[in-house]
């Protein structure tokens, strides 16, 4: 279990704990930073725009201590307000049975990074009681929201997985989960910053992919599925290679494999990776 589970899981994976999808519909004044994550513009909280500009400067300067300090301070804030974690399709579908209501909405990341027009960009899912008052943040929910039944949401989630998007849970005021994303590199700010700057705003999932080298036929069906630069073909042996250390456990490669040659292991069953979030 990751540190979020230990704190908010109640013996379960934290994002399968229904408590983390519940929130009051009325406002309770709170002290400290958690309040800002809950009530300010949800996308602004923890998106870390200014942080990344600083991070790029620190990276260019070569000052590792500076870089570490920026990340530490930013993450201390983000872990109280807004961060994400990769989940498998299975877990995603379980969440759709727990959380309600469910809406489709635009992806802020792809708007920021590619300027994608809202009508082509309904790839995020807003969830929970916050969706009853989405109109409070018209800029975040550009183009409005589209309410879905759980069945429609599941079909849509499976379509997204099939098309090759990584699925994540997203916190808005820890531990309240207010969104589910369908992400990719480099369009997703969280995936991009995690891979390019090792900024742990996005946590790895509870699973890790492992290739069975006996079963792999070298058909290459899985290539192109990984959004985390963790999958390639070992040309000399003609087998798929998963960098397990770098794997986020999304499971996209597995559903593309026709030979059942990739399995998804519990991260905790692997002593070398159990603390690698």
């Amino acid at each position: 279990m990751c540190w979020v589970c230990e704190k908010y899981g109640n013996g379960e994976k934290w994002y399968l704990n229904p408590e983390n999808y519940a929130r009051r519909l009325y406002k309770v004044r709170k002290e400290g930073r958690e309040a800002s994550g809950a009530d300010a513009d949800p996308q602004a909280a923890g998106m870390g725009a200014g942080v990344v500009a600083e991070l790029v400067k620190a990276r260019i300067s070569g000052d590792l201590k500076w870089e570490e300090e920026i990340k530490r301070d930013a993450l201390e804030h983000a872990y109280q307000t807004h961060f994400g974690q990769v989940v498998t399709l299975d877990e995603y579908l379980q969440i759709l049975d727990i959380a309600y209501p469910l809406v489709k909405m635009t992806c802020g990341c792809r708007r920021v990074q590619r300027g994608m027009p809202d009508e082509e960009n309904f790839t995020c899912m807003g969830i929970g009681p916050g969706m009853y008052k989405w109109e409070r943040w018209p800029e975040t929910y550009r183009g409005g929201v589209e309410f879905l039944t759980p069945e429609e949401a599941k079909q849509w989630a499976m379509m997204n997985h099939k098309e090759g998007r990584v699925q994540t849970v997203d916190v808005f005021g820890t531990p309240y989960i207010g969104g589910l994303c369908q992400c990719e590199y480099p369009g997703c700010v969280a995936v991009r910053n995690r891979l390019d700057y090792d900024f742990k705003f996005l946590l790895k999932g509870h699973t890790v992919a492992k290739v069975d080298r006996e079963k792999c036929t070298g058909c290459k069906s899985c290539l192109g599925r990984c959004q985390f630069k963790s999958l390639n073909l070992e040309v000399y042996t003609n087998k798929a290679y998963v960098d397990m250390d770098q794997c986020f456990g999304c499971g996209l490669c597995i559903t593309a494999c026709p030979s059942g040659a990739i399995e998804l292991l519990d991260r905790e069953s692997l002593p070398g990776l159990a603390e690698n979030w």
């Binding site: 725009a49 990344v52 790029v56 620190a58 300067s61 300027g115 018209p138 800029e139 480099p186």
Partner: protein, 100 residues
């Protein structure tokens, strides 16, 4: 060398609807964000601004300059050592201020 990207905001008037540079960039160096958040309505596309953010990822291919319909993108380069020194000085000043 590290890219230095300047956008002339007098020429770049409609960034979110135009989005040519955002769309063409092979390294996703640009970001665009709203300069104003309104109560009760969406921010106008014209109130967005584009910045070169991931400057250390820029290859210098120049496609953004070519594709810009108003010539608003200025792409230059500085030696990495020179920039590194500038930022190290910024950092020293930052630490000094913090400890004073």
């Amino acid at each position: 060398m590290i890219a230095q990207i300047k956008i002339n905001f007098d020429l770049c008037k409609d960034p979110l609807l135009c989005r040519q540079c955002l769309s063409v960039c092979p390294s996703v160096v640009f970001v665009c964000g709203p300069t104003k958040i309104w109560k009760g309505r969406e921010t106008d596309p014209q109130e967005y601004r584009i910045f070169g953010r991931y400057l250390d990822k820029c290859s210098g291919c120049g496609d953004c300059v070519k594709v810009c319909p108003t010539g608003a993108v200025d792409l230059g380069f500085l030696p990495k050592e020179q920039l590194a020194q500038r930022y190290q000085e910024e950092r020293i000043a930052q630490l000094k201020e913090r400890n004073s």
